[in-house]
């Protein structure tokens, strides 16, 4: 066996808390990564996985300090190095690919200059060869037209292109090891799948070692050989990717797996209750004890050591054999069909345009952009039904929700609520109409006022719509909190004192306080950890059953949509491509775009590879004529797709696909194109 590339031994990192006590963020971490090997670090937010990856570079965020241990790169302790020594290694032989490249690239420097800087610092190449080398690197990460990208500023690239530029920058110093901090989080499914393929290929071609930090087990399954699962600053399970994802010996890893919605499984995922202990809050025993289904008194008193198993894994659990009995998938309840027949919401030929005519245009009597952002969307949502809206970013799914809520005025078409025509904007809607349609936003940090207590947040709709006051108001608030499974003691808390999942529950409670008929959910689980996401999905399903609520559920995550929705609508560039019962949309025949989307989804299973059938090109505007998907379609027929709007082809059970190809032909599976 070759010498380890990265070797972390007994590393503890912490910060000084309010009371002056030292609170650990990483506790006694041992980890080795060998040349050419790729290791995944997984865990919920706050588990210390990013801190660990950055510590491997000898870097700690402001306020953190090393309490003990070492982080060696090629045998040298990164914490013992001077600033200039660190500068020579960082970005050179040991490079980082950051989470959010949009914010990690300096906004005032052109891409070429930023890559050139990395070359100048680390490559030892004569200056006149820099440009050629940068163009070469941009080509290696499969960016189209490197010459043009060279002169662009970061904000002029799409999210996927920024991520590729960051990868090219990391490759500039010809690194031996790459640290990847959630490199695909926030990217569209197709872009994510392409970036991961690129990373796999690069790692294989250059023999690089990789440490891949992610909360997404699907991504880990795709690129890693080994996985370390982190919990409360400790490694609780370490082993081969197949072993950890298919037969993990730690209860936490099993709970995590069970909480992931699967594309192949229409049932709801199983939530992992509770929350991890805050730094310094873990007791003398196992840190996971409060959430563990098989905990025994011994677990509370005795801290388990990371012990090797016969399978070659190492696990931090007193009862690994019993942990193996816990379920990892397929135990969730299927979402009940509570559909009635009466339509709650009907959209007829809805079109929405963001372009507003400017002052000059209005003075000159000119019209705004001719091609609207969302065009001729017609659909019906029945009482008690959950309609999922899926598509990549820019597909118009959130735009449609905002228009239904009246926050954005429609440019054309009509919105019918039951049998009345809804005024387009909020100002013209009656209080009762407003009450009956409620919106839940993606990020509760932004949608909850940080200065209002939970009681104040919940009382607003109760006072506004029902005129409640005094004891009745209080009782109702408590009852509503109870409905989202939060106790009355939460009433006095501020949003800042709640966890992410609790905040989203409060946001949901606020929507349900209005006793709405229709709840619009805009990526409500995207900002949450998987285990919390499962709990929120379960809550939404429960509320639907008890309240008979109708949902429109927007998400970019196809597995999440599958778990909750009765019917699914697929959008591309603001145009409906396919709509129908979930099982039909997720099965064949599919619209070519649905097929591309489904093929790119990463399952937390190393044996399932994504099928990439189309490039992850970002289109800024929909085409003026023909099919919206014409430019990327792997099944494109020819000029008819560019000139004629495709017809709706009707299948069974209300399934409809908008394509020039007929359904029997669409049912045949398309083979991924080479490369």
């Amino acid at each position: 066996m070759s010498a380890p590339m990265i070797e972390i031994a007994g590393l503890s990192v912490g910060f000084t808390g309010r009371g002056g006590a030292t609170l650990p963020v990483l506790r006694d971490i041992d980890l080795t990564v060998r040349p050419g090997e790729s290791l995944g670090l997984v865990g919920e937010s706050g588990s210390g996985k990013s801190t660990l990856a950055l510590a491997a570079m000898g870097y700690l965020k402001r306020g953190l300090r090393r309490l003990g241990g070492s982080a060696r790169f090629r045998g040298e302790d990164m914490f013992a190095k001077s600033r200039t020594e660190l500068e020579a290694v960082r970005g050179g032989k040991l490079a980082l690919i950051p989470q959010n490249s949009g914010q990690s690239l300096t906004p005032t420097l052109r891409i070429g200059a930023q890559l050139g800087e990395a070359l100048r610092l680390h490559a030892g190449l004569p200056a006149d060869q820099h440009r050629g080398r940068v163009l070469d690197l941009l080509g290696q990460v499969r960016l189209p037209d490197p010459e043009a990208i060279f002169d662009r500023f970061p904000h002029e690239l799409s999210g996927g292109q920024q991520q590729r530029a960051a990868i090219a920058m990391a490759l500039a110093g010809a690194p031996d090891a790459l640290l990847l901090d959630e490199p695909t989080t926030g990217l569209d499914v197709t872009t994510q799948a392409h970036i991961l393929e690129l990373l796999r290929d690069l790692a294989a071609a250059r023999g690089m070692a990789m440490v891949y930090v992610s909360h997404d087990l699907g991504a880990i399954a795709r690129v890693c050989d080994r996985v370390a699962v982190m919990y409360a600053g400790e490694i609780v399970l370490q082993g081969s990717v197949r072993q950890v994802l298919k037969a993990p010996a730690h209860p936490y890893a099993r709970g995590l797996l069970a909480s992931i919605p699967r594309l192949s499984d229409p049932a709801l995922p199983v939530a992992l209750g509770g929350r991890p202990p805050a730094p310094g809050q873990a007791g003398a025993g196992c840190a996971f004890v409060d959430r563990c289904a098989i905990a025994e008194p011994r677990c509370r008193g005795e801290h388990p050591a990371l012990a090797p198993l016969p399978t070659g894994d190492a696990v931090r659990c007193h009862f690994p054999d019993r942990a193996q009995m816990l379920p990892i998938a397929g135990q969730g309840s299927a979402s009940d069909d509570t559909r009635g027949d009466a339509p709650v919401l009907t959209l007829n030929d809805l079109s929405i345009s963001y372009a507003r005519p400017g002052l000059f245009d209005r003075l000159l009597g000119r019209d705004a952009a001719a091609v609207p952002t969302v065009a001729d969307v017609s659909l019906t949502v029945r009482r008690g039904e959950t309609l999922g809206l899926v598509g990549e970013s820019g597909s118009g799914k959130s735009t449609i929700l905002k228009t239904v809520a009246g926050l954005l005025g429609a440019a054309g078409g009509e919105i019918r609520f039951e049998d009345t025509l809804l005024p387009r904007v909020v100002e013209r809607r009656s209080p009762d109409q407003l009450r009956r349609i409620q919106l839940v936003f993606q990020n509760p940090d932004d949608s909850l006022n940080p200065r209002q207590t939970v009681a104040e947040i919940l009382e607003q709709p109760l006072k506004l719509y029902f005129g409640l006051s005094g004891q009745a108001l209080h009782d109702r608030s408590v009852a509503i909190l109870d409905r989202v499974r939060l106790g009355a003691h939460y009433l006095d808390r501020l949003p800042g004192q709640l966890s992410g999942g609790e905040k989203q529950r409060v946001a949901i409670a606020r929507a349900f306080a209005a006793e709405p008929d229709l709840v619009l959910c805009d990526e409500v689980t995207s900002a949450l950890d998987v285990s919390v996401q499962a709990a929120v999905l379960d809550l939404l399903d429960d509320l639907k059953r008890s309240q008979g609520t109708t949902y429109i559920f927007v998400s970019h995550d196809l597995a999440v949509v599958r778990a909750l929705s009765d019917r699914v609508a697929v959008l591309y560039q603001g145009r409906l491509c396919e709509i129908g019962p979930s099982a039909r949309v997720y099965g064949l025949p599919s619209h070519p775009y649905t097929e591309v989307l489904l093929g790119a989804v990463l399952e937390p299973d190393p044996d399932i590879a994504p099928r990439l059938t189309a490039d992850d090109v970002v289109e800024l505007a929909p085409p003026a004529r023909g099919c919206a998907f014409q430019r990327r379609c792997p099944r494109k027929l020819g000029s008819i797709c560019e000139t004629d709007t495709p017809p709706w082809r009707m299948g069974d059970g209300g399934h409809a696909v908008r394509c020039h190809i007929d359904l029997p032909d669409l049912a045949a599976v398309l083979e991924p194109s080479a490369g």
């Binding site: 914010q103 300096t106 500023f153 110093g173």
Partner: protein, 319 residues
């Protein structure tokens, strides 16, 4: 880009026109006019009628506004009610003096503020930061007439190094204002340095804690190169608008400082004109100050746009 430039120029012009209407209307609503001010106690009967006839004050207001606006466009601001001197000439000298004072204060204050802002931002919470940040709060909170009086007491009364008031006449060439101008410059520079320093400091702190500075560190970029190449170009962008406001403030007449030091600038002229009820002069100065505000802010916006690639693309796309 050109379209957006034209658009902004047009909007700036609209603003000036609206302001001019407000100024004119304001003066119109006030009791009395140039003639009552000029004739004082004799402002009655035939004398007043004749005066108004001569000045054209008995025409409808709209007509007089258009007349005033049209001649202002040609650079003719009318004649002063006191003594019938051309306002353009009077104001021209004063504007030049105000520009001189502003230029000196900016020349001292802006570089100083930026250097100190960056230093305090980079060495946040160290003694140097505490010293200058606290100093800045003092400089901001002490009223100018207090600091001006203290400086006069120390430097001209006790030490006798610098003249305490300005005795040079308004029409004198710029060089004759030295060294009399130094004390007013110091007073103004203190206040503006404090404002800009605090802004630059918080901007530097924010940028240095940002993702791209962390990324540059982890890319192995040396510290000072990070500061100068990655952080400062971004951190100083918001400073442009604060500097612009300061410029407008300086040119709009820093009345208190001009009065304390007897400096013949626009601000003092305005005060004098108001107490003399010299309405044509008041009107003219108000219009000039408003135009200065519009021009300076427009320049700052355009400059930010040129220096900030994100805004640049934004406007390119709008074209």
């Amino acid at each position: 880009m050109l379209r957006m430039l034209l658009r902004r120029l047009f909007l700036g012009a609209v603003t000036v026109v609206i302001v001019s209407v407000i100024i004119f209307a304001g003066v119109e609503i006030l009791p009395g006019d140039a003639c009552t001010a000029f004739l004082e106690r004799e402002a009655q009967g035939r004398l007043l009628e004749n005066c108004r006839e001569a000045q054209g004050l008995n025409r409808p207001a709209a007509e007089r506004y258009l007349d005033w606006a049209a001649s202002a466009l040609r650079g003719d601001l009318g004649v002063s009610a006191n003594g019938g001197v051309s306002i353009a000439e009077l104001v021209g000298n004063r504007l030049k003096n105000s520009l001189l004072l502003a230029a000196c204060a900016l020349g001292v204050g802006v570089p100083l503020a930026i250097v100190l802002g960056v230093v305090t931002g980079l060495w946040r919470d160290r003694w140097i930061d505490l010293l200058f940040s606290t100093g800045a709060i003092f400089a901001m909170t002490i009223p100018e007439f207090v600091s001006a009086t203290v400086l006069i007491l120390v430097f001209s009364v006790w030490l006798g190094w610098l003249p305490g008031i300005v005795l040079t006449s308004a029409g004198a060439p710029a060089s004759e204002f030295f060294p009399e101008i130094l004390l007013p410059v110091i007073v103004l520079a203190m206040v503006m340095t404090a404002h800009i320093l605090r802004m630059v400091r918080s901007s530097v702190i924010e940028v240095m804690a940002g993702d791209y500075v962390q990324m540059a560190t982890l890319k192995g970029v040396p510290y000072w190169r990070i500061v100068f190449r990655h952080a400062l170009p971004n951190a100083l962008l918001p400073a442009i608008n604060v500097v612009a406001l300061t410029v407008a403030w300086l040119l709009g007449g820093v009345v208190v400082v001009e009065v304390v030091f007897n400096y013949p600038g626009l601000g003092r002229m305005m005060i004098d004109a108001i107490s003399d009820r010299d309405l044509p002069v008041v009107q003219a100065i108000a219009l000039i100050v408003a135009t200065v505000y519009v021009v300076v802010n427009l320049t700052a916006d355009l400059l930010t746009m040129v220096l900030n690639p994100r805004l640049r693309t934004h406007y390119m796309r709008q074209r």
